[in-house]
Amino acid sequence: MKGLFKSKPRTPVDVVRQTRELLIYAGRTPDTRETKREEKMAELSKNIRELKQILYGNSESEPVSEACTQLTQEFFRENTLRLLITCVPKLNLEARKDATQVVANLQRQQVHSKLIACEYLEKNIDLLDILVSGYENTDMALHYGAMLRECIRHQTVAKYVLESQHMKKFFDFIQLPNFDIAADAAATFKELLTRHKSTVAEFLSKNYEWFFAEYNSKLLESSNYITRRQAIKLLGDILLDRSNSVVMTRYVSSRDNLRILMNLLRESSKSIQIEAFHVFKLFAANQNKPPDIVGILITNRSKLLRLFGDFKLDKENEQFEADKALVVKEIAALEPRDCT
């Protein structure tokens, strides 16, 4: 019973084109005829939903790879991604979510075994500035945040964000009072610092001074429980990664860092204590401990040994026990060295 003119289904290319036209329309400053605009915005939402369905399939059908490829190609042939990203604030909640999922999916679409989304972003890298600044806007944060996390799956894009001025802002985003936004920023921060090993190692080496100064004072010594907990966990992940061994060696040679870690070991929170232990053990296991580190460890020897004596995980863990035994042995065997 379909109408005569609707019998021909629109191709993925048609959908992208129409979406683009509507996005351009939506981007214009509204004129007086509001009613028409509402209609067009509804049409736009429908088109974005359709893009999503082509890319993800629906409960009845799987996505067709040929259709996905056509869609992706058409999408990046012109500036659709920029239009879509800048238009998100004008969309309603459902369309915003659809747009986020479309952007996320496009990052993974390969055309002739190439990620053309990555190529596009490299040429339009300023889009990342828009996405990062989303954390400053309560309404946009979660949508832009999710898009951002998908985009930084591309190594070159992640490198851009890491080396940009935005990196400093994350230390504040993570501590925003709004839990959802702060947690989203923390997830992105973690992704930036763990996903692309060589890029991260290079970044940390080049930016060691300011980065760890901020990390210690703003995150590890934060008054906010959840900030400290996430920060100590991430620090462990970073330092224990083999690719960051140079950074690790440097970190565990600093008495200031040791002091901060020892304070975290004394926290009442079990989760923080355990994560702190995983970093602390690196200080103890370091075979080239600087004299001042040895000094601190000896001064606090009895306290530390007592602490580790009662230190247990809820679930038994052989690796943890072995680590603990090693740390205890190291500390017990320390000999005072001439510091002068």
């Binding site: 509402e38 993800y56 799987e62 309603n92 390969q110 309560t138 709004n178 839990f179 959802d180 907990r229």
Partner: protein, 537 residues
């Protein structure tokens, strides 16, 4: 556009993000790692809110899953879904500020005032509203994964909202960024399948338990069907068994939900054909044959459905307040909450936000008060019905007020061999673990003689009785202690033993889970040929 934006901003009235703006009035729920308060938001004209305070340090879930739950709640927008106003941390607690639903959960309403279930017109209203929420969720690509009466809340005006996205998942969200994303790209996300186990055992669909085959939105439909039974009878099927056992039963038998009394029993609840048909379709073992939420909404059962006023008149009037209901359960719960929680939720990794009052389900309500353990009498009723029934031996069917709605497709023989063959093994393994309950499983594997049923039910009943006696004994002890009675050395010893026993139970549980996992691994090897057809692609 102006209109749309206005609508958006209207919905998002920003609630203050600091604890000093809220005045806590009362506790209305307690879980292992969360407390729910009734509170007012002072700067907002003292609007009444519910605050779920999750202890992040004690919560088993990692922060990532808490973040995802919170985000899901924030980004959903539907009249039948409970949204959070905002969330923020207060020391090591996460405060989630939500609208206060003054009627509480349907589960708490049933256990306090409708022990035999609600009337059919009331059920229809509740289920229809729940389906609206489910249909919206599914269209968004979200699974709820924990549909049950305890997660369906009602407000003073009779409006119904689905809550608790502690275990919800999105089929659009790739599995938490592990592994290479190129490999996990479109193929795994687009299949719309998830593979980790979540939810609460009694409501769980069989394919969720068989998690290695993956499951889809239809798992929620199964839980929805179980919830319908729960609303109709006051408890979910199989609830006389511990949760782990109910999982095992669904695994080892094709379908074994002969849990409810026959209609010739005194209660004599008559349900319409439409209702039975609707529930039956949800409980199809083949997920692809279960209707979608949207299709269910068009089912004749929901035609001429009453409105929310009907619930106000027939369910809410005369009901004790949420606070009072909670206080009632709490006096005795105080000391055994850990125990109860362990029972309740051993398999699920939801962990995040267990609200005691909302999560208490049929099986462990028996902990409450000095009332007779509600599980026991039904057990004996069932004994009666089962022995009535022992001639035809049809255990493998769902009975609904006496009428069969689902019959196992296979013949009795084949399902017998099913439970006696390789999947029966977990039962045997368990013999070593839970000495108290094995008889149930054991006798099932030799279903056949009518006498076995008697033995099964008698032993089952006795085991339950023993448990309930133990519990009551402890509760008496707790009460004495609470009223400042003598705390003798003996009492302390008993408590100590109790604690040790709990530890032991945990170990057993772990052991059991491992054994089950082992069984899962064995299954594909031994039974690949006869179970392989059950998956949907």
């Amino acid at each position: 556009m102006a209109h749309e934006q206005e609508e958006c901003s209207k919905k998002k009235i920003q609630y203050p993000l600091d604890s000093t703006s809220y005045k806590i009035l009362d506790e209305i729920g307690v879980g292992v790692s969360a407390i729910v308060y009734k509170a007012v938001c002072v700067p907002m004209n003292s609007t009444v809110v519910a605050i779920k305070a999750i202890d992040l340090d004690r919560s088993r879930a990692d922060l990532d899953s808490i973040r995802r739950e919170s985000k899901t709640m924030l980004l959903l927008s539907h009249p039948n879904i409970l949204n959070a106003h905002c969330s923020f941390t207060v020391d090591c607690r996460l405060w989630v500020v939500m609208p206060f639903m003054s009627g509480g959960s349907l589960q708490s309403i049933i256990s306090s005032s409708f022990p035999d279930g609600l009337s059919e017109p009331c059920i229809a209203v509740v289920l229809k509203e729940t389906l609206n929420a489910l249909s919206y969720l599914h269209k968004q690509g979200h699974l709820h994964r924990d549909i049950k009466a305890g997660n369906i809340l009602i407000d003073s005006n009779g409006s119904i909202k689905l809550a608790d996205f502690g275990v919800s998942a999105s089929i659009y969200e790739p599995n938490t960024g592990q592994g290479g994303w190129a490999a996990s790209s479109s193929s795994s996300t687009s299949r719309m399948m998830l593979t980790d186990v979540a939810g609460t055992p009694y409501w769980m669909a069989p394919e969720v338990i068989h998690s290695h085959t993956g499951y889809s939105l239809k798992a929620d439909i199964w839980s929805f069907g179980i919830t319908a039974l729960e609303l109709a009878h006051g408890r979910p099927p199989l609830s006389h068994l511990p949760p782990s056992k109910s999982l095992l039963m669904k695994m080892t038998t094709r379908l074994r939900l002969s849990d409810y009394e026959k209609s010739n029993n005194q209660k004599d609840k008559k349900f319409s054909k439409a209702f039975k048909d609707m529930v039956g379709s949800c409980l199809d073992h083949d997920p692809s044959k279960r209707p979608s939420a949207e299709k269910l909404l068009k089912h004749s059962f929901f035609r001429n459905c009453k409105g929310s006023d009907f619930l106000v008149k027939n369910v809410l009037s005369g009901l004790p307040t949420v606070e009072d209901r909670f206080r009632e359960t709490r006096i005795v719960h105080k000391n055994c909450s850990v125990d109860g929680e362990e029972e309740e939720d051993p398999e699920s990794d939801s962990a995040t936000t267990i609200v005691k009052q909302r999560r208490i389900s049929g099986w462990n309500f028996n902990e409450d008060g000095f009332e007779l353990d509600p599980v026991f009498p039904t057990d004996s009723r069932e004994k009666q019905s089962e022995s009535d029934n022992s001639d035809d031996n049809v255990v493998k069917q769902v009975r609904f007020g006496g009428e069969t709605i689902i019959r196992d497709q296979k013949s009795d023989n084949s399902s017998d061999s099913n439970s006696g063959g390789s999947p029966g093994a977990p039962g045997d393994d368990e013999a070593k673990i839970e000495a108290g309950n094995i008889e149930i499983i054991e006798s099932e594997s030799n279903v056949g003689g009518g006498g076995d049923f008697d033995r099964e039910t008698v032993v089952g009943g006795l085991v339950t009785l023993r448990r309930s006696l133990d519990e009551q004994r402890q509760q008496v002890g707790d009460m004495i202690a609470m009223f400042g009675g003598e705390v003798t050395k003996e009492d302390q010893l008993v408590q100590h033993i109790e604690r040790l026993r709990m530890e032991l139970q945990n170990e057993r549980q772990k052991n059991f889970e491992l054994e089950m996992e082992l069984e899962f691994l064995k299954l594909p090897i031994s039974g690949a040929s006869n179970t392989g057809g059950g998956t949907d692609n």
